[in-house]
Amino acid sequence: MRIEERRYTKADHFRATGYILKTMQVTFKGAIRATKHRPCTILYPWEKLLYPDNYRGRPGIVLERCIGCGRCAKECPNQCIEMIDFQDAEKGKVKRPQVNVGRCMMCGNCAEACPTNAMIVTPEFELASYSRGGLIFDPVKLQHPHKPGYEVNYEFALLSEMKSGGEVKTYAKNDTTVHDTIVLDGSKCISCSRCAKTCPAGAIEMADTGEVNPKTKKPIKQPKFDNAKCVVCEQCVDVCPKSCLSVKEVL
């Protein structure tokens, strides 16, 4: 039936009245229920909702675990994490993440990306501050007492295994056997050893290649990667002056 063809009949008016009575009945029942038990709202400042165990509030950090790899800063979708200089008591001058919580969207990707589970998600969500500066959490302020549920762990499967149709295994986060690897283009390398100095995990070692430099008569050294230690932070790739390092992804 087309819309223009509809006409109000006498019964329609009575139906409308019945509709009003129906809504009145429904709301009255609701009011009785809300008075007898309690409304579905909560008195926020005094009462708080129970948050689930895997609730992702502001990011926190466990400083003892952090190696300063900067993967959190690379992963952050809002780019609110910055690696700043930090004076550590034992390790001296190091880089540690500083989070601008005002820009944070609480996705928890930083904790997901962290290879050492130093970055954690905390259940804190009351972050109001009187100034914008108060929302920038430096590494010390970012610290949070650690509890077992706070770090983000996940499992993943490889696309290639799915595609080949064989058995699909699931791997835990930071499984050293399957993570990406750094590949060296030996012909470009000038043996500056900057990568080895930069590596936060100590996974690069300058090893002899067996060749000797014809001019200086010294043995040529090239980086060698220890995949068990590597966290794929790509700092070596960034720092390489001749761009001879590249990442080979595991697919």
């Binding site: 009003i20 709301t27 009255f28 609701g30 229920r33 409304p39 709202t41």
Partner: protein, 361 residues
Amino acid sequence: MSNLYIELTNFTEWLLGLVASILDWTKLGFLSDFGEWLQTAPVVDFVSTLLVVAIFLITAMMFGLCFIWQERKFLGRFMDRRGTQVGFLGFFQNFADGIKVILKEHIVPKDSDHRLFELAIFAYLASTFMLFGCIPFSDNFYVINVNLAVLLGVAIFAFGPFSILIGGWSSNNKFTLIGGMRAAAQLIALEIPLLLCIVSVVVMTGDLSFVGIVAWQEQNIWLIVPLCIGALTFFIAAIGESERIPFDLPEAEAELVEGWATEYGDVRWGLQMASDYFRAYILSGLFTMLFLGGWAGPEFIWAEAWYLAKTFIVFFFFIWVRAATVRIRTDQILKMGWRRLLPMAVINLLIAVALKVAGVF
């Protein structure tokens, strides 16, 4: 309770006597004469009337505030939430809101008609506050007790649409103009059924004063029983007259920012907002007077308490309707006013006349 006027006349006589004796003590001739003049009957009447009006207005406004509080809390429960939280059961939220609007700046739009802009809101608020005086709490607690009290109240109500339309026009804003037009159309459409229902009550009781109407109902029967159609019509028309949901077209927040009061700021807006509730209070008071027997009731509590309890119950139904229904369209409201409520009111009037002619009451 004894009569408010008598009590306050005695008090005023004592007070002015005190003032006169103080003036006499100064031994200055003209001051003694002034003191003697203070004790004459017209001055005493005037001062005692002022006192009565002040006391009554403050009492009525406090109960008006109670109505806002009741609405907020009950509507909260209807909507499955808690309502206001400031102070004792959220009662002081109204005062907080009042202080807030008092502290606001008074802004007049640049291209508005300044004088009419100011005049309209004052006319609206003045008519609301005058209406307070028309509704007595009991046969002892009142401001005016004249033979034409019902008609007086209705006549003051008639100022509403005019001032609303002027206010909406003078703000020089399309939303206010549309809101004003809607308000006037709706109030005119619903006022006639309202008046006819009042007429049916007057036919039954043969009296135009509230005291007479209530006394008649006390002797015979509450008028909601014989005039149930009229009571329903009056109830619906009263909701429309107080511009409440589902008839809040003049102030439809979703369509017109704040209706005809969009351009009003500061305490004028606050009082306009409050006066919506005050008018709802007055109309539920009228309903109580006309159909529920006013302050009539068993004598174990005061008559005023009976009146207020009944009014609160009527207002509860106002809130209930507000919680349950949605806003209706402009053409629907006019159609409803002219085609449904008006015939219902006329039928009700016929019933009243028939009952009177048949000599049932």
